[in-house]
């Protein structure tokens, strides 16, 4: 079920109305949350509900068994990791693996592994990477004694399947979520208003900015005769950078707003990533719940930066490349991760952002260089193939062709809004000019709703659903 559909509006209305009736009964509320979340997910394809149940049951029982049989903790953790990564591999990567084995062994002519892979395994269940990682984080945290396993199976499944973040995050940790969920709180008026603001801002980002930029990006990337203008491709990649940001940050904001209405607090997933002046800073602002997941459950266990310079870089590369692969089963995602690893490694070796950012002009130069790196990496993320990505990058750096960004009036307005917004954050103007009068604030949000209704783009799925 899509957040930007009328059906979801109906679903959410019924959910919150019944949740209110359940009052302070924690178990009833969590049971209702679980049922509603399963319905929300099953609406897309009920057959894949068994994967959430499977993943969840493994981790729920593994965590309980860790407490009961401390000597078998490592074995139980391994079992959980194998089961989770196994189901992820089968349902997300089997087509990719089979295709590459076919190519490697030259199997395309006769027997083909891909052709013999059951169709069911070639459908990627919506949000599989999100809930698998969320489920795994629970077992990891119990293993590391960061939390006690929960005894209530409903509590666990309410945490795992919570519909606001089930299919596209943010990936929330059990150690912060479960205590919140077990505490009965009355949602205050202020919290409801804060939730409302988040929801409206989220819909604005998704439906007005991302959905209006999507046709521009799709047309550029799917054109049979690629444009040969450098400026056009820079313009297209800037449009895509804002599209993917608003698409995903929009979803996160809606999820956080809905959680607020339930009385829960999800962590912030995006903090204006495009104002970063170093790659390190970018990764503290972009998809924070995923980058911290990889940091805590992969980079640090691998040794992080504590085992010498060489190992630090190796660990960084492993983390980044796997984070690329997490996004999708294609070499373009691997290349995206590798490129980020390369830029980050280079930054660690040279410390160039620190050297450059000593003045206002220096900070601007650092921002420009980081932005260019991020944009070049986005080409790989969005391209249909590695060949297309290289062809686009070659055109971008040829600095030739017509002087046209390819935005048109629509693109210019929506990209302009985003540039002004990010600029105001970078210069601190957003705080200075924040609307403080509650009446004007209400008028402002009412106007934003009207803009969403009348300037919404062609409705399309959230990009991160496919991950």
């Amino acid at each position: 079920m899509l957040f930007n559909s009328l059906i979801f509006v109906l679903f959410a209305s019924v959910f919150f109305a019944i949740a209110k009736l359940l009052g302070k009964r924690v178990n009833a509320r969590l049971l209702w949350l679980t049922i509603a979340s399963f319905f929300f997910y099953g609406w897309w394809d009920w057959r894949f509900l068994f994967l959430i149940v499977f993943s969840g049951l493994i981790d729920y029982f593994a965590a309980l068994a860790m407490e009961r049989f401390p000597s078998k903790r490592k074995f139980l953790l391994t079992l959980s990791v194998i089961a989770n990564i196994g189901s992820l591999s089968v349902f997300k990567y089997s087509g990719f693996i089979a295709k590459n084995i076919d190519a490697l062994l030259g199997l395309n002519g006769g027997f083909s592994l891909l052709a013999n892979t059951p169709d069911f395994f070639l459908i990627t269940p919506v949000g599989i990477s999100f809930y698998t990682f969320q489920s795994m984080s629970y077992t990891f945290d119990v293993y590391r004694n960061k939390m006690k396993p929960t005894k209530g199976i409903i509590h666990f499944f309410a945490y795992l399947s919570m519909f606001p973040q089930l299919v596209a995050g943010p990936i929330v940790r059990a150690q912060t979520m479960l205590p919140q969920m077990l505490k009965v709180t009355q949602v205050s008026k202020d919290e409801r208003w804060a939730g409302f603001q988040l929801v409206v801002r989220g819909y604005f980002k998704k439906m007005v900015i991302a959905d209006n930029l999507a046709p521009l990006v799709v047309a550029a990337f799917s054109s049979p005769e690629p444009n040969s203008s450098s400026l056009f491709w820079w313009g297209t990649i800037i449009a895509f950078a804002f599209q993917i940001y608003c698409d995903f940050a929009g979803y996160s904001d809606i999820a956080r707003g809905l959680a607020r209405w339930m009385g829960y607090d999800f962590p912030d997933n995006f903090k204006h990533p495009y104002i970063s002046t170093s790659m390190q800073e970018f990764w503290t602002r972009w998809h924070i719940s995923l980058s911290t997941w990889f940091r805590d459950y992969l980079y640090i266990p691998l040794g992080g930066s504590k085992k010498g310079t060489f190992r630090t870089h190796v660990n960084l590369w492993i983390t980044m490349v796997l984070s690329g692969l997490w996004h999708g089963a294609a070499w373009t995602y691997v290349a995206w991760g590798a490129l980020h690893a390369f830029f980050s490694s280079f930054e660690r070796i040279t410390h160039w952002p620190k050297i450059v950012s000593k003045s206002h002009l220096g900070r601007f130069v650092a921002w420009l260089l980081v932005t260019m790196q991020v944009l070049v990496a986005w080409v790989f993320f969005r391209a249909e193939s590695i060949e297309q990505a290289f062809a686009i990058i070659k055109t971008m750096f040829a600095f030739s062709g017509s002087i046209n960004l390819g935005w048109g009036l629509n693109g210019s307005i929506f990209i302009g809004i985003m540039i002004l917004r990010e600029l105001s954050v970078a210069l601190g103007l957003d705080r200075k000019f924040k609307i403080k009068n509650p009446v004007w604030e209400m008028v402002f949000y009412a106007l934003i709703i009207a803009v969403i209704v009348f300037f919404r783009g062609e409705g399309s799925e959230f990009i991160y659903f496919q991950f």
Binding site: M1, L2, L6, N410, A446, V453, F454
Partner: protein, 291 residues
């Protein structure tokens, strides 16, 4: 409340996109409706723009008729099955009308792209299209570009209007008409795809089966411009005489049409007047063979 007031006021002022929502409703309903009919008319856009069940019903008032044509609609087993399911099961009058174009029996249409797109559409989208289209119409979105045109530019002289009928027919009107307009795209299609003999064999076999099962089958070649017909015959390898002979042999009734009596607006699709004429001719022909 304030937002509702703003939206309400703006909905009276801003332009609306009537055609978009009507077409969304039209295609979802055509594909997913469980309603049953006595007569199903199959084919591609020439069929859904060229045959009006409403006009046919003037001759055949006792029949429920659906135009089941799709853009790039193929005549292949998947579509045969879908059409059969739309027929009333226990009726003595069951008729399938086939508008056979070169593209509909070539590899070009074998994927049934539009039909499958409608069939596989996410459930929430279908619900919105079927039940919320008046709301979506009332709050039609506008882009800044559209707003600029609406506010500052005079309405364009050229137009292309589509009127969606619930019986599956789309009344089409284009100004100015250009009977050569569609030719280049068909040249491109026929460079890659031609009439496929195996697809025709499948069609004849299906016609035979329908005939044995008591379903009356009627075939015709949708009228097009002279240039288009020549192009289909030469580049697309469409052999009307052979198709007519094989269809008749399989048990179908073939309606031979004088293409010079019909006018198209782009060389491929009939204008409104010719669509009425074709529908009437087709209905009279069916009346003559069935009653």
């Amino acid at each position: 409340m304030l937002a509702a007031i703003f939206c309400g006021l703006l909905s009276f002022v801003l332009p609306k996109n009537n055609e978009k929502y009507l077409s969304e409703y039209f295609w979802s309903r055509k594909t997913l409706s469980k309603q049953k009919y006595n007569m199903i008319i199959m084919g591609d856009s020439r069929v859904y723009r060229g045959v009006s069940p409403q006009i046919m019903q003037k001759q055949l008032p006792q029949l429920k008729i659906l135009n089941f044509g799709y853009s790039n609609g193929g005549l292949n087993p998947a579509m045969f099955e879908a059409a059969e399911q739309k027929l009333v099961a226990n009726s003595s009058t069951k008729i399938i009308v086939l508008g056979i174009t070169a593209n509909s029996v070539s590899g070009y249409t074998e994927k049934n792209t539009q039909y499958l797109q409608e069939l596989m559409r996410p459930r929430e989208e279908v619900i919105e299209r079927l039940y919320f289209s008046p709301v979506k119409y009332w709050f039609s979105p506008v882009s800044p570009q559209q707003l600029k045109l609406w506010l500052f530019e005079p309405p364009p002289v050229a137009y292309y209007k589509n009127e969606y009928h619930l019986n599956g027919y789309v009344r089409s009107e284009k100004f100015p008409a250009d009977t050569m307009e569609a030719i280049p795209s068909y040249v491109k299609d026929f460079t890659n795809y031609k009439v496929d003999g195996s697809k025709l064999e499948t069609l004849y076999k299906q016609v035979g089966e329908w005939n044995n099962n008591g379903i009356t089958v009627v075939g015709f070649r949708p009228p097009v411009s002279f240039s288009m017909r020549m192009l289909e015959d030469t580049m697309g390898l469409y052999n009307e005489a052979e198709i007519e002979a094989r269809m008749t042999k399989a048990g179908a009734h073939w309606l031979k049409l004088d293409h010079s009596q019909y006018k198209t607006y782009d060389g491929s699709h009939l204008d409104e007047y010719s669509a009425v004429q074709l529908s009437d001719t087709l209905a009279k022909f069916i009346k003559s063979i069935h009653w």
